[in-house]
């Protein structure tokens, strides 16, 4: 049941986006986010839509899978929509008296902002899903490490941050498996996680949490020993076995993005 989580779920593939350098993918994702939050007019939105569809098609990941990753976010999207609908002032479309004191009104501006906001968030989620679906967690953290590297001069421990992320990501499936196993073992002993008051249910988690923590500490201990036994001593003087470099493919991707961004900017100015 924990296997449905899509975070860090890489889908094997050989598409253009799969083969891009993770650094460039991270940079472009960041630029894409900035773009999404700076567009305001409808034509610019249409250009952003075209670009989003373009990367979704290009990444060769089943669209169903991307949608599945969006499912847990539905609540946030709905919440954003409702808040924007109700909280934006302007020309009212529908009004509703609440307790005779407040008026809740859905305004024309509200509808517009709600739709644009939801679309913006949706694209943001799709964009980041494309990043995590086409990049192995290992490559992703490697990209982050190398982007943070220049910050070493101001004492940002880029290697350590990346190593922590790698280990954390590496243990997500392990701990999910472990949780599944422990849950089943306790269910087999008649444990009941599903009925009773909130308090009872929280208490019912103890038989899962205690063994899970015990095993997490054991694993952490074993891993630390194994790393030390192989002479790990942090990032100093450490070189990489596979160094991926920004290549012509990445430059191409950047240029394509900049063309779309320029088009969006132009649309924004003209309107």
């Amino acid at each position: 049941m924990f296997k449905d989580v899509i975070i860090g779920q890489y889908v094997e593939g050989n598409s253009f986006i799969h083969r891009m350098d993770p650094k460039m993918k991270l940079i472009l994702t960041l630029l894409y986010m900035i773009l999404l939050f700076s567009v305001k007019s409808i034509p610019a939105y249409i250009i952003a839509t075209v670009f989003t569809l373009f990367i979704v098609c290009l990444c060769a990941v089943p669209f169903k899978l991307i949608l599945k990753g969006l499912k847990p976010m539905i609540f946030i999207l709905l919440f954003t929509a409702v808040m924007n609908l109700l909280m934006t002032r302007g020309e009212p479309l529908i009004s509703y008296e609440l307790f005779g004191r407040f008026t809740l009104s859905v305004t024309k501006e509200g509808v517009r902002i709600a739709v644009l906001m939801v679309v913006r968030l949706l694209y943001l989620l799709i964009g980041t899903s494309v990043l995590t679906l086409t990049t192995t967690p290992l490559k992703l953290t490697d990209g982050i490490e190398r982007l943070l590297k220049p910050l070493d001069v101001i004492k940002v421990p880029s290697h350590e941050i990346a190593m922590m992320m790698t280990i954390a990501l590496r243990f997500i499936p392990t701990l999910a498996d472990e949780t599944d196993k422990i849950m089943k073992a306790q269910l087999a002993r008649g444990a009941d996680f599903e009925s009773g008051s909130i308090f009872r249910r929280a208490k019912a988690l103890i038989p899962i949490l205690v063994p899970l923590f015990v095993s997490a500490f054991r694993r952490a201990d074993e891993l630390a020993t194994a790393m030390e036994a192989r002479c790990y001593h942090g990032g100093e003087g450490r070189t990489k076995m596979n160094v991926s470099r920004i290549g012509s493919r990445d430059i191409k991707a950047l240029v394509i993005f900049l063309i779309f961004a320029a088009a969006a900017a132009a649309a924004e100015i003209i309107v």
Partner: protein
């Protein structure tokens, strides 16, 4: 009585990377049998036994235990889990209570029994697995690996199931711990002959010593079922699946092939030793 009909199971059905673990399984296990489930790693043994306990819902097919259809939505899961006790692989990883006594009592408590009955069951179960009363107040985390495993097994035995299923109960134990667990299974069968015991094992010696029936799994299917004698007489087929017959059987088969007259069906070291000793004595007599 357990009967499995046309059971299929797919992990992650409908998702990319889904994987069929069980293919059209058909099985019958009689009440009171001691059944060994063998097969190489990944052959689907653990997946199969989780079906006996309604922990995984079959993708298709049925599992019926003492007349209760486990797959039936109306069947209460708690009834099924009362009937079938499942001891997972490395069960010591599920211990969580402050004391040994409380941990063994966790299952009986969940069954809603009264204090006196819980206490009785904890004492009985610990006696069966050989955990002495002086350990009842210990933290389970203070015990040795073998002891932890016994406590965890006691936690399931204390629920007094009709069917006890153990997934690789001796994995990772030293020879003494192994012998202890195997002797416990034999003892349990003698004390409670009506209890069906199913255990997963990779050691043919252990299987020969403890079981009376064998189910052989291969790549998600049942490859063979039968009595210990029936299955171990098909050494070549077993070898084809990456399994083997007990070492003593390998020796006696070779001796027989060399022309020595040995009785058939030698699977345990004890019996093999006696047969070979008798052969040697017999030969000495004819030689002299």
């Amino acid at each position: 009585m357990i009967s499995v009909r046309n059971l299929n199971y797919v992990y992650g059905a409908g998702l990319p990377g889904s994987r069929q673990a069980l293919f059209d399984i058909n099985l019958d296990i009689e009440t009171g049998d001691v059944v060994a489930l063998i097969g190489h790693t990944g052959s689907g043994k653990s997946t199969l036994i989780q079906h006996f306990n309604a922990l995984v819902p079959p993708t298709s097919g049925t599992v019926v235990i003492d007349g209760i259809n486990v797959t039936d939505k109306a069947a209460k899961k708690s009834d099924i889990r009362k009937k079938v006790g499942l001891v997972f692989q490395y069960p010591e990883h599920q211990l969580f209570e402050e004391t040994v006594f409380d941990d063994v009592a966790f299952g009986p408590k969940n069954l809603g029994l009264d204090e006196a009955e819980i206490k009785k069951r904890v004492f009985d179960a610990c006696a069966i697995v050989g955990i002495k009363e002086k350990y009842f107040g210990f933290s389970p985390f203070e015990l040795s690996g073998g002891q932890k495993r016994r406590v965890a097994i006691a936690g399931v035995i204390a629920m007094e199931p009709n069917v006890l299923v153990l997934d690789e109960p001796v994995a990772g134990l030293d020879p003494k711990g192994r012998d202890g667990i195997l002797a416990m299974i034999t003892g349990l069968h003698e004390q409670r002959p009506e209890m069906t015991i199913i255990f997963v094992s990779h050691s043919m010696e252990d299987v020969a010593r403890v079981a009376n029936h064998i189910i052989v799994m291969n790549e998600g299917s049942v490859a063979m079922t039968g009595t210990v004698a029936e299955v171990f007489s098909k050494g070549d087929e077993l070898r084809g699946m990456g399994l083997a017959v007990p070492q003593i059987t390998q020796i006696t088969d070779r001796l027989r092939a060399m022309g020595y007259e040995l009785p058939p069906h030698i699977y345990t070291l004890k019996y093999g030793e006696r047969a070979i000793a008798a052969l040697l004595r017999g030969e000495e007599r004819t030689d002299v």
